[in-house]
Amino acid sequence: MTTVETAAGATQTMVLNMGPQHPSTHGVLRVVLELDGETVVKARPEIGYLHTGIEKSCEALTYSQAITLTDRIDYLAPLSNNLGYCLAVEKLLGLEVPKRAQYIRVLLTEMTRLNSHLVWLGTHAMDLGATSVMLYCFREREEILTIFEMVSGQRMMTSYFRIGGLALEPPPGWLERVRHFIDMFPSRIEEYEKLLTRNRIWLMRTVGIGILEAQDAIALGVSGPTLRAAGVAYDVRKFFPYSSYEEFTFDVPTRTESDCYARYLVRVAEMRESLKIIRQAMGKIPADGPIKADAPGIIPPQREKMKTEMEALIYHFKIFTEGFAPPPGEVYQRVESPRGEAGYFVVSDGSPKPYRVKVRAPSFVNLQALSKLAEGRLVADLIACIGTIDVVLGEVDR
């Protein structure tokens, strides 16, 4: 407790524990607030309530098994994390992934971005009181999850990207489903925008709130839409292309206002860009072709080969009993997750299990900016700020 000088004299501040059980801390974030009336004097995020030791657990699993844990890091964007990890291990192994698999990966990670942004928009709008937008967003998200389920058999914990390619051949008809979705989706974005973008109350609640200037954002290591809303056009997909992103044309939406409203606009614009990428990817994906790299000791052999060829049977047995051992070394692979730059640092000691997996989680880094955004403002603004930096607590705590 500290003493605050006001016009009416000195007053004491009040400490309020917001979270970990609170409707709008997006999971289990706990913010220790020091309040002077309703003004936030100090906001200190406390994390660790969702710590499940994912990074450490990876060390006890083989390289392939660890993929399933990456789903659970950011449960709103599982495929982006699958991709980051798989790319890192592929870099370690020096694997070349077939183009078809690369395009499918791009398509699905962009779907993931839409999925994540939809959940963000819905929950953020709900935090600010526009409850119906949440359900509209979840209606469209349902369609994306159905597509994920079609290709991987799972709605959320997909683990669809595997080291060297994809887990399965996508089922027939999935591209029609995607086409149906992207034809319908632009009108739905307009629907959200109609409810929010020029809504007076929405503007009052977001314009000029939670300003994070570009130099502060860079100093804090903030990335993703939060950084781009401050006018810095940094996007990993453009600066360090991976998985053939260099073959796609898309814009990196930026704003210069660096407030909550700018972050909202950037994310909505990103949804439109993602649609563009998905449309291009659909044109590029060849009708057939391999979806896995040609690396017998690493990629599990096809079922019929296993039944007919001795070598394939041996490989199959070895891959599923002890895994494969990449050469010793360390790699860092960054991808643009919906929340920002997600980095995977993988160290190999030559054994079939990773020596160390370190995840640079964008939510964890971005959360640092919360105090900067919210201090000196009202409690209601703090809620808007937590919303627009878009944290996923699974990713913060790992």
Partner: protein
């Protein structure tokens, strides 16, 4: 002789109180159902569907649930205030309805001409405002006595908000008082009788002297704030203060806050229809001869009944296939009753009154599920710098218009 009359009046009043209390509590329960259904359909969902056909028994299930839940009292509460706050909220909200006239004076029950109002007092409007403004105590005390920081913040916000908007609310109806020159609610309605150019009803909203459009706007906005509903639901502000002033309340104490909130919603909706929309007056002028508008209540009931029967026989479960057609038949019977010569005139008033109240309530629900929430300081700024001056302007313009008319 006088004694007998006095006693019979007392009995009739008591019966009316009991009937109204029952009706209001049922209406409140079904208003919750209505709100959930409307919200669900706005959001592309079904809403309550499991308890009874179309969730019609959901209010009952909710009530039972509230009764059976553990009634937890947190440590460190001010017990007296903690217990009295929900009681205060509910009692005040319900007693305000006693002043509301639901129809004209000429309803005949057992041959006695009975006004459809419990307390037809000369200062009805003032009494309602007096009662509802005491309601702020329930919220403030509930927030303060709970010994919780969220509750405290909610209670503080709410008392500031309700007191500020109370001013605009009362000021917004001053225009009507100037036009009508009475506080009695039944008389206020009777002054709105008649039609401009033969068709346009002379409701205060469209008053020929000075249409109370500004007043209606101010009343409507202030009433939303007064009942603590979105976009002014800062007292609860789920995403900020968990549940605001009733965070620490559970079981039936919470239910009382809940009932009080919806009962005051009904009160303000009734007032809106009385003050601005002509209360029980029909929007259609009475034409001599066969007047089709007199058959509207019966017609609406008949259509609803037939629709219920047709839909009901194909309902997904057996209970619905029985209950819904039975309900349809009851509505049909009511419709037949409403078209009978003795009843048809008596039913007009309540029908139009309820129709208007339902419309206002629907708009309330609609607004709640569409707009984002204001921030506390923005809400206060809006109340004092926009709503209050507009209401004041309305008073000045109306007085000018009244003087010029004379």
């Amino acid at each position: 002789m006088n004694d007998t009359i006095a006693r019979s009046i007392l009995v009739v009043s008591l019966v009316k109180v009991v009937v109204l209390l029952f009706l209001v509590l049922t209406a409140v329960a079904y208003l919750v159902w209505f709100e959930r259904k409307v919200a669900a359909h706005i959001q592309g969902r079904w809403g309550p569907y499991r308890v009874g056909p179309h969730g019609l028994l959901q209010p009952l299930a909710d009530g039972v649930k509230f009764l059976l839940k553990e009634d937890a009292t947190p440590a460190g509460v001010d017990r007296f205030l903690y217990f009295s706050a929900p009681l205060l909220t509910m009692t005040l909200a319900i007693s305000a309805i006693a002043m509301i006239p639901f129809g004209p004076a000429s309803i005949h029950i057992f041959g006695i001409a009975t006004p459809l109002v419990i307390a037809n007092i000369s200062v009805g409007l003032l009494a309602i405002f007096a009662i509802t403004s005491v309601g702020v105590y329930g919220v403030a005390l509930g927030g303060w006595s709970s010994n919780s920081k969220y509750s405290l913040l909610g209670g503080l916000r709410s008392s500031a908000q309700m007191i500020s908007y109370e001013l605009s609310l009362t000021l917004s109806v001053v225009g009507i008082l100037l036009l009508a020159g009475t506080f009695n609610l039944s008389e206020l309605i009777m002054r709105q009788d008649g039609y401009t150019w033969g068709h346009l009803p002379k409701w205060n909203l469209l008053n020929p002297t000075f249409p109370q459009i500004l007043g209606f706007f101010c009343y409507f906005v202030a009433a939303i704030a007064e009942t603590n509903r979105a976009p002014f639901d800062l007292a609860e502000a789920e995403s900020e203060l968990v549940a605001g002033y009733h965070t620490e309340y559970s079981s039936f104490k919470f239910a009382m806050f809940f009932l009080g909130e919806y009962a005051s919603m009904i009160t303000v909706a009734c007032l809106a229809s009385i003050l601005f929309l002509g209360g029980w007056l029909s929007p259609f002028p009475q034409t001599p001869g066969l007047d089709w508008t007199r058959y509207l209540p019966a017609g609406v009931l008949a259509v609803a009944g037939v629709a219920l029967i047709i839909h009901g026989v194909r309902y997904i479960n057996v209970f619905g296939r029985i209950a819904l057609p039975v309900l349809g038949v009851i509505l049909g019977a009511l419709s037949f009753l409403c078209s009978q010569p003795g009843v048809i005139d008596d039913i007009q008033g309540p029908f139009w009154f309820l129709a208007k109240v339902l419309f206002v309530l629907f708009v309330y629900v609609w607004v709640r599920w569409t707009l984002p929430r204001f921030r506390y300081d923005q809400l206060m700024r809006f109340g004092w710098k926009v709503l209050f001056p507009v209401a004041l302007l309305n008073v000045i313009l109306t007085s000018l218009a009244v003087v010029m008319r004379k």
